[in-house]
């Protein structure tokens, strides 16, 4: 595996925010051993940060220390390096020491958003969810446009089954990124878990609408499959109990719900029509015809 392709792969991981720590570590180690990080220029420092985080994730603290040393030699007083030092401490020291370290950093420079986030992450890991949620709300009051923060808040609430609060947090995230179908999908699935079928159905259809390709009879791919599955689950329940269903958000049930149900069935079955899908297709049609 050449140096060039490894660097390209690492750059794509950075751009996509993917957390593939094992692959990043393997490829990054190749680059580090080649010793050319000094020649990479601006990208070299971002690469060192990425490799340090991947190394801590995989458990190789020695490599992380090497990267951290190079970074702190060059950028001594930088907030990003402070965050890295904090994460390195999180991996080895006890949580109370780490929390006091973060509090000290926040006292010196209270506008370091990344340190706030690390502190909330430590609190969540310790299980102090109430404090974490309180701090996260305070953080989001200050830094409203941080989509990550809203998604994390929704995740914490959903893990405690507080779906109303989770939906509220997700609606803020939707305001901030209205072009992102993944957030809509998360909203729809949270609404489904909360039991609000009409709202979930509406949101699943929004996802499908967003992901529309030109060819209408094409096989659904990617998150369309997930969205069609969601639609099928919702319409199944609504057809079975349509008149008596009350939605917490006062969303109305669509009039031609049976037609939507048929469409969703057809679309889901089409999604399993490739050569790999044929085996699963039997299972799927059996499940569909059970009710």
């Amino acid at each position: 595996m050449s140096l060039q392709s490894a660097l390209q792969q690492l750059a794509s991981f950075r751009a996509n925010n993917s957390r593939e720590s094992q692959e990043t570590f393997a490829k990054g180690l190749v680059v580090l051993k080649a010793g050319k990080t000094v020649n990479l220029g601006e990208e070299g420092w971002a690469f060192l940060e990425q490799l340090a985080l991947a190394a801590i994730d995989v458990g190789r603290i020695d490599i992380a220390d090497q990267c951290l040393k190079q970074l702190s030699d060059k950028f001594d007083d930088s907030p990003r390096v402070d965050v890295l030092r904090g994460i390195r401490m999180e991996a080895t020291q006890s949580p109370s020491i780490v929390l006091s370290f973060y509090d000290e950093l926040l006292r010196i420079s209270p506008s370091n958003a990344a340190i706030w986030k690390r502190r909330i992450s430590v609190l969540r890991r310790l299980g102090k969810l109430e404090k974490a949620v309180e701090d996260l709300n305070e953080y989001l009051d200050t830094f409203y446009t941080d989509v990550e923060g809203w998604l994390e808040l929704a995740d914490i609430h959903a893990s405690c089954n507080q779906y109303t609060y989770a939906l509220q947090a997700l609606s803020h995230a939707l305001l901030l990124t209205p072009q992102n179908p993944f957030t809509f999908l998360q909203f729809a699935e949270t609404a489904y878990s909360a039991g609000d079928m009409p709202l979930a159905l509406k949101m699943f259809l929004v996802v499908i609408d967003m992901n529309e390709s030109e060819d209408e009879d094409a096989i659904p791919l990617g998150i369309s499959v997930r969205a069609w599955w969601g639609t099928k689950l919702c319409t199944r329940q609504l057809v079975a109990s349509s008149a008596t269903h009350n939605s917490q958000s006062n969303t109305s049930v669509p009039k031609n719900i049976k037609l939507v149900d048929e469409l969703a069935t057809e679309r889901v079955l089409t999604a399993y029509s490739g050569e790999q899908g044929i085996q699963t297709r039997n299972l799927v049609s059996k499940w569909m015809s059970r009710r």
Partner: protein, 107 residues
């Protein structure tokens, strides 16, 4: 392919017309005649090369790129969109599972 061929022909035509003009003018200078009009053929060759060059440049454009949000979002996966790296916990079982299996480990 066709566009590039046209562009090549047009470039050759322009250079040839320029060289012919230079030759013609130096021929007139050698015979000490006053500078008259450039011959019709050279002008025709220049105009024809211009036309061919425009045609070649138009045909030689690269393919269109997608600019809609939906085409951009189709390239992403859920794990990338929901990764929340700022809040990620780095204290997990990675240390026990992924580090060197032959190193000294507590049982």
């Amino acid at each position: 392919m066709l566009g590039r061929a046209f562009l090549l022909l047009a470039t050759i035509g322009i250079f040839h017309a320029a060289y012919s003009t230079y030759e013609h003018l130096s021929y007139l200078k050698a015979l000490e005649r006053p500078e008259g009009p450039i011959p019709q053929e050279i002008i025709l060759e220049t105009l024809f090369s211009l036309f061919l060059g425009i045609l070649g440049a138009c045909l030689n454009t690269p393919d269109f790129k997608e600019i809609t949000w939906s085409s951009e979002m189709r390239k992403h996966k859920i794990d990338e969109m929901d990764s929340r790296l700022g809040f990620a916990s780095y204290v997990n079982r990675g240390k026990q599972i992924l580090s060197n299996p032959y190193s000294k480990k507590s049982q």
